[in-house]
């Protein structure tokens, strides 16, 4: 039924439908046609989501690692190709992107009322950039998408953001740019090592290429010291994006100032690019360096988990609280990835999706109440469950998903991550689980202060419950939270092959003895030293 998907360049179509939509908005719709622009742009996003859905059904879990591949020559002289393709991990992230895209568009209808044309153009361009990042199989192409995407996000924060938007926007842009230019040097080093050599060392003498698969093949041949340098260059780029402690300081500013849809996309998709970068590039291409630096990576992840949670607990502003909770949750993801075993990476990837859903939903929910009251201070609220019962219910479900209650998605992800971490070094899991306890504390405490107790603030008395449009864009997330929580099997299955591939690359010894058996001693994590 979905065979046709293989006969069209489906990935390019999914990636460029938003771009085409943006061009149509630019050239055919006028500034004052706000309603038409809104509907058209949302329609484009919805269409894109529908086009991306068949990917899920046509993707063969047992088939090739990368599927739906497209390859065209682009810049022959230096071996750059236009090469697209996705594996199970990218597939999940792409679906997350197209889905959250639609929801973010819907949530903007009432929130964005000025300069709508530009707003929707930037949102559509952003979609194209993000989708391209997950689809690119050529490192150069990847980098182009990775950077292109920064521009629309800069404008989204800078034009439609809060009071300190200018500061937040340029800070976001500068931080990520510094990270990505260093990553670029790492990419170039890989490129030259694969080809003619660099820094006076002989290279491998292959044809010059930026192909990610080729780098996967030759990665382990790179001498150890060069691997470390390339790893660090990548690390800065990805860690700033994730963001890992201590590179996280741009995140609260960007989140707090961004408009709701911007925050949703930022938390839901953009942050995942960093973790995606680790699992796609750092781990498989630079296995020795990964193993050598493992204690550092795990240490920063754990610090991020605990620190993010503690700072979140101290926040008075709901949006800031959710922003810091992201630091903590993403710490879990990186901890899972750097466990370097099946459960850890499985859990890490699934948790990327989970975090995208639950944090995306939390930002949407905070946005809804902000639109009504124009404040996000927790102290301004209290007893909302009396006036907004539906809102309170959905908020509760999402809160539970975020803190990892069984039957909801967060539980599956966190549990697998901790299992993976435990297998690697038992006390990593112990310290990581602190984050779950703290997470429950700050989320439930916020929930209690906002929804329970007497309705003291008179301004809250007349608050309207959710409208149909709001329910419409929250419902899919709630549904998915249950689906992933109750039947996570298909999600693990679709990425199984990719995860095994990464594990086999980064830790051949461990892959041989099957990842589920006894805890690997920490010494195996240091074989590179």
């Amino acid at each position: 039924m979905f065979d046709w998907v293989h006969s069209v360049p489906i990935l390019s179509i999914v990636a460029y439908v938003p771009l085409a939509g943006a061009l149509i908005v630019i050239f055919f719709l006028k500034n004052d046609q706000g309603s038409a622009i809104r509907k058209f742009a949302t329609g484009v996003a919805a269409l894109d989501f529908l086009i991306s859905l068949p990917l899920w059904f046509a993707f063969k879990s047992g088939g090739d690692l990368f599927q739906f591949r497209e390859s065209h020559s682009w810049i022959q002289s230096i071996g750059v190709k236009y090469e697209m393709g996705i594996d199970g991990i990218a597939l999940l992230l792409i679906l997350l992107t197209t889905l959250l895209g639609v929801l973010a568009f819907l949530s903007s209808w009432s929130a964005i009322r000025e300069r709508e044309k530009e707003y929707y153009v930037f949102m559509l361009l952003l979609q194209t950039g993000m989708l391209g990042v997950f689809m690119a199989m050529d490192f150069f192409l990847f980098y182009v998408f990775w950077e292109v995407m920064l521009v629309p996000m800069y404008f989204l924060i800078g034009i439609w953001g809060g009071p300190r938007k200018l500061y937040a926007a340029i800070k976001f842009f500068l931080y990520t740019l510094v990270g990505s230019v260093l990553m670029l040097l790492g990419i170039l080093a890989l490129y030259f090592y694969n080809a003619g050599g660099l820094l006076g060392r002989p290279g491998l003498g292959n044809d010059p290429t930026f192909s990610i698969l080729q780098f996967h093949e030759i990665g382990h041949l790179i001498p150890h010291d060069l691997q470390i340098w390339i790893f660090l260059a990548f690390f800065v780029g990805f860690a700033i994006k994730v963001p890992m402690f201590p590179f996280h300081t741009w995140l609260p500013d960007a989140h707090v100032e961004a408009p709701t849809a911007g925050s949703v996309i930022l938390a839901g998709v953009l942050l995942k690019m960093g973790t995606y970068g680790f699992v796609r590039f750092s781990l498989p291409i630079l296995p020795d360096a990964t193993r050598t630096l493992l204690p550092w990576m795990a240490g920063l992840s754990i610090i991020g988990i605990v620190y993010g949670a503690l700072v979140a607990m101290a926040q008075k502003d709901m949006k800031k609280l959710v922003a810091y909770s992201s630091v903590s949750h993403l710490g879990f993801v990186t901890l899972g990835l750097f466990a370097l075993n099946g459960p850890g990476i499985n859990g890490g990837v699934l948790q990327m999706i989970n975090h995208g859903l639950s944090t995306g939903a939390l930002f949407l929910l905070v946005g809804i109440i902000y639109e009504r009251r124009h404040t996000r201070l927790i102290a301004e609220y209290g007893g909302l469950s009396a006036v907004m019962p539906v809102y309170a219910t959905i908020f509760l479900i999402i809160t539970m998903s975020s803190i990892g209650l069984p039957t909801l998605n967060g539980f599956v992800g966190e549990f697998t991550i901790l299992a993976g971490a435990f297998n690697r070094v038992w006390w990593w899991a112990l310290l990581g689980s602190l984050g779950i306890v703290l997470g429950a504390a700050y989320m439930l405490w916020m929930y209690q202060r906002v929804f329970f107790g007497p309705l003291t603030n008179p301004e809250n008395k007349g608050l309207k419950d959710l409208t149909r449009r709001e329910i419409a864009y929250l419902a899919p997330i709630v549904l998915l939270c249950f689906v992933i929580g109750l039947v996570p099997g298909p999600f693990f299955k679709v990425m199984e092959k990719s995860v095994n591939y990464v594990v086999a690359k980064v830790d051949p010894m461990l892959a041989a003895s099957a990842s589920s058996t006894a805890a690997a001693p920490i010494s195996s994590g240091r074989t590179g030293e």
């Binding site: 022959q76 950077e147 404008f155 034009i159 510094v178 230019v181 170039l188």
Partner: protein, 490 residues
């Protein structure tokens, strides 16, 4: 005695110089030609020169090696062809930028264009010069015309100041350069580049002190011309004071031609035994140029001054490619300066569209709310600023990547790291203009853009070229690869 045949091989250069002189002559008769007529004559002579270049290209392209003529003091090769073409394109864009600007200020046009043509013919000679003496004389031809052009607003103190500063410092640097040349001549016994290379090798082997002294003085002069730190001090004042089309011309054409002779002299005139020495000096100069150019640009309120510092910073990036002494480095330099031509011309054209009465409308605040006043102009400026920062999908990105790549490949990682970090920092000042254009409301005083079809056409052309160079660079890479210098033999 060289035959007429040999002189004819310099026909493009001679044609352009003749056109310049003719225009100057016409200017003395009565009131001269009008602005538009002179511009037309200029464009036609540029087009004819380009036609001649293309007509002659196959003849020497098919030759086994470089064709040396006129007692081996000029060369016909792909490298010269590339720079000459680039200079012609940049000059044509300058003319498009100038028409409306001269009308606004009501200045005499014929002499202006004749000076532009003379300066450009100097640049063409620079590209094909193959002896230190011919190169130096061509350089002076260009420089003398540029000094006058910088002071073309003769009633304005700032323009006078620019011309005077440019002249005094320029003459000083030319003198230093000539002194260096004379020392090298003393050591090597020739100024013809091939003989110079061999002579310097002999002299160095004999332990002559003239060699290091000579080449360092010569290098200082070259650094001055490409405005590399610490020889950059003239740049901001001259760029701000000169009429804006002249500023664009200096920032693009003059810089490109200076890089052409810098490469020619370093790669072909200095032997490989000097290579490691000059590489170290270029590395330090490149690092200082990138750091200082970018840091100083951070605080500029005047857009022209900001672009001046940014052009210093870009000279630093280009030096990364020079430094690498590799095929990649060489074509990265060529490609980057090609992209830089369109980007910088476009950015200055946008500045001109907003200028009023010579110097008004040049501050960042004049760009406030530009996106609301003219969506087109703001979008174009955005493209140029993204390209200057080096964000894809623009030619600026692609060019920069390969400059950095060349440095990494050649082992100059520390300079490349400084390059990428300063280039990230540059985002801050380029995007200050974006902030004003898109994120701030229009003020009452902010000027509306001029109506000038030639300018708007030039801007659109530059923006399209910038994007094409970023999205489909392949044909241009082929062009640059066909225009490489032979690398110094190891």
């Amino acid at each position: 005695m060289p035959s007429l045949q040999e002189y004819l091989q310099l026909a493009p250069e001679i044609l352009l110089a003749t056109a310049g002189l003719l225009l100057l002559l016409i200017g003395t008769v009565g009131r001269g030609l009008g602005n538009r007529e002179s511009a037309l004559v200029t464009m036609v002579s540029l087009a004819l020169t380009a036609g001649l270049l293309f007509k002659m290209y196959p003849a020497y392209h098919d030759a086994a090696g470089p064709v040396l003529i006129l007692q081996r003091s000029f060369v016909l090769d792909g490298f010269a062809f590339f720079w000459q073409l680039l200079v012609l394109v940049a000059t044509a864009l300058t003319v498009l930028l100038s028409v409306r600007f001269l009308e606004e200020g009501n200045y005499r046009a014929t002499e202006y264009y004749s000076l532009i043509l003379l300066a450009s013919s100097g640049m063409l000679f620079m590209a094909s010069g193959y002896s230190l003496l011919t190169i130096w004389i061509s350089l002076e031809t260009m420089a003398l015309a540029s000094y006058i052009l910088a002071g073309y607003f003769k009633h304005h103190v700032r323009s006078n100041e620019a011309a005077l500063k440019y002249f005094v410092l320029g003459a000083l640097s030319s003198g230093i350069m000539l002194y260096g040349i004379s020392l090298l001549y003393g050591a090597a016994g020739s100024v013809q580049l091939d003989e110079l290379r061999l002579g310097l090798e002999r002299a160095s082997a004999a332990g002559s002190m003239l060699v290091p002294l000579g080449w360092i003085l010569l290098a200082c002069g070259l650094f001055f011309k490409v405005s590399a730190v610490p020889f950059h001090v003239w740049t901001p004042d001259v760029y701000v004071g000169a009429p804006t089309p002249v500023t664009a011309y200096l920032a693009v054409a003059s810089k490109a031609a200076s890089f052409a002779i810098l490469l020619r002299i370093f790669y072909q005139g200095f032997g490989s035994h000097l290579q490691s020495d000059w590489q170290h000096i270029v590395a330090v100069v490149a690092a200082a140029t990138m750091i200082w150019g970018n840091l100083a640009a951070l605080t500029q309120e005047n857009v022209k001054r900001m672009l001046a510092y940014s052009s210093i910073a870009h000279a630093g990036y280009v030096l990364l490619g020079v430094l690498a002494v590799s095929e990649i480095g060489l074509w990265a330099v060529l490609f980057y300066l090609l992209a830089y031509t369109f980007i910088t011309m476009g950015a200055f054209a946008t500045v001109i569209l907003l200028e009023r009465k010579e110097y008004a409308g040049e501050t960042c605040a004049d760009y406030a709310g530009l996106a609301q006043r003219s969506r087109f102009l703001a979008a174009m400026m955005l493209v140029f600023l993204l390209a200057l920062t080096g964000i894809p999908p623009t030619g600026g990105f692609f060019g920069k990547v390969y400059l950095f790549a060349a440095a990494v490949q050649a082992g100059w990682t520390w300079v490349a790291v400084i390059g990428v970090l300063t280039s990230a920092i540059s985002l801050y000042y380029y995007f200050r203009i974006v902030v004003y254009m898109y994120l701030r409301e229009s003020t009452q005083a902010a000027p509306a853009p001029l109506r000038a079809p030639a300018l708007v056409g030039a801007i659109a052309f530059c923006a399209i070229a910038t994007l094409v160079l970023g999205l489909y660079p392949e044909p241009f890479i082929q062009l640059t690869k066909a225009s490489l210098l032979p690398l110094p033999l190891p």
